[in-house]
Structure formats: structure tokens, C-alpha cells
């Protein structure tokens, strides 16, 4: 049986934008890294197009923006290990957790509500 997922923490950062085309995702991740550097227990929730950030094999490419793939690889170094995604968003995009670059726990809507309620501060990007 799987261990019970912990849905509590200090700061929850919700990422709803895709990794390319705007700086929303990068600036959201920056907030998460700073919160972690300040000693807070940080959780991330990838929701909507935000789940696209987790797809494997993304580089900064020719777009001129730095991209976020490298930042995602640094999360563990910042002790950000509570990573969640909205299962409905992933299914809507026709993706499965097999194609993701990090181990992320898929959550159904009731658990997402519990996740949001379980954090003292929620920042939405």
C-alpha cells in the first residue's frame, strides 16, 4: 500500500501557465525557491497548462527565454519535494505521469482542496 500523501506545508505555489511563451512559470518557481531558501516547507501544484512544465526533454531552445526545465531539476536541492499535479489537467492534455521529468503525485479535486487548505500561504501564478 502507498504511504499516505502529506498535503500540509507552509507555502503552496500553484503554477498554471505553460513553461514557454511567458515568464509566469519562471517567476512562480522563483517565488517557490525563495520561500524554500527562507526555511519554509514549500509544495508545488502544477495545474492547467502548468503541467506542461513537467514534460521531459525541454530545453531553453531558440526562444530567447531561459526556460524552466533546469530550475525543476534544482528543486530537490532546495528541499522542495512535495510536488503535485492536477490529475484532471493532465488527462485533459492527453498525457500520463510516464512522460514527466520528475516524480509528481497526481491529485483529484477533493485532495487539491485539502492541499490548499493545508498551507498557511498560497501563491498562484
Amino acid at each position: 500500500m502507498q504511504a499516505e500523501t502529506v498535503l500540509d506545508g507552509d507555502v503552496l505555489v500553484i503554477l498554471r501557465h505553460p513553461p514557454h511563451g511567458s515568464s509566469w512559470l519562471r517567476e512562480g518557481l522563483d517565488a517557490a525557491l525563495v520561500a524554500a531558501a527562507f526555511g519554509q516547507a514549500v509544495s508545488l501544484l502544477f495545474q492547467g497548462d502548468g503541467v506542461l512544465a513537467l514534460l521531459q526533454g525541454q530545453g531553453p531552445g531558440p526562444l530567447g527565454q531561459k526556460g524552466t526545465s533546469a530550475t525543476l531539476d534544482m528543486l530537490a536541492m532546495y528541499d522542495i519535494e512535495s510536488l503535485f499535479l492536477d490529475a484532471t489537467s493532465l488527462a485533459r492534455l492527453g498525457l500520463s505521469t510516464d512522460s514527466l521529468q520528475l516524480p509528481v503525485s497526481p491529485l483529484e479535486p477533493p485532495s487539491i482542496a485539502a492541499l490548499i487548505a493545508g498551507h498557511r500561504l498560497v501563491l498562484t501564478f
Binding site: 507555502v11 522563483d30 519554509q40 500561504l121 501563491l123 498562484t124 501564478f125
Partner: protein
Amino acid sequence: MRYALLVQGAPYSSQASHSALRFAAALLARGNRLECVFFYHDGVYNAARLAAPPQDEPHLVDAWVRLNEEHGTQLQVCIAAALRRGLLDEREASRHGKSGHSVEPPFELTGLGQLIDLGLGVDRLVTFAP
């Protein structure tokens, strides 16, 4: 109750600043305290001291300054988001060898850590994004 606002929309480009200012007026009218407005993402453009909107539109930058003068609300701007968008106070302008500055008090350039502290310290942090 002690409130803070997080503004992430550029002035005039989106509704975010207008709504945030109306929300600020409403919460103050009910006797709450507005500790701070934090500007992040494109919201940093709200601190542009050179903003010169037409006279028949609300002057959003001045409206923030009034909030500070009348209610002591701090106006904090994420320095990393601001610098890359050309929003520099006098100190940063001179540090980067620029001939002019685009941010002045009561707006203060500060780090993202302030946003985290603020969010954990107030009763409510309300986000206004495009």
C-alpha cells in the same frame, strides 16, 4: 484584519491594478489595515514614476502613492522582476550606469523574501493578476 495585496498585472494593460485599488479602498473603509502592496511580474510597472496617462483616465501610480500617504501602506517592488523590465531606483540606476531612474519613493525595490514574510505575517494576502 491586516491585509496585503499582491499585484501582478501591468497598469492599463489589465484590470488587475484597478481592481486592487478598489479592493484596497473597500477594505480600508471597513476599518481594516492594509500593510503592504507587493508588485511582482508585470505588476512592477505600477511603480513607473514616469507614467503619464491621459487626463481622463485614473492615474494609477499616483493612486498607489496616495495609499501610502494616507494609510501608511508600504509599496514594495520585486527587485529582480523590476530590473529586467527597466524599473530602477536611483541607487540601482547608478549601480548599472544608467543616466536616469524610473522608480522613486514611496515605492521600494525589495527581494521576493519580503513577499513570503508578508504573506505569512498578515491575516490575508490577496492576489490581483491579469
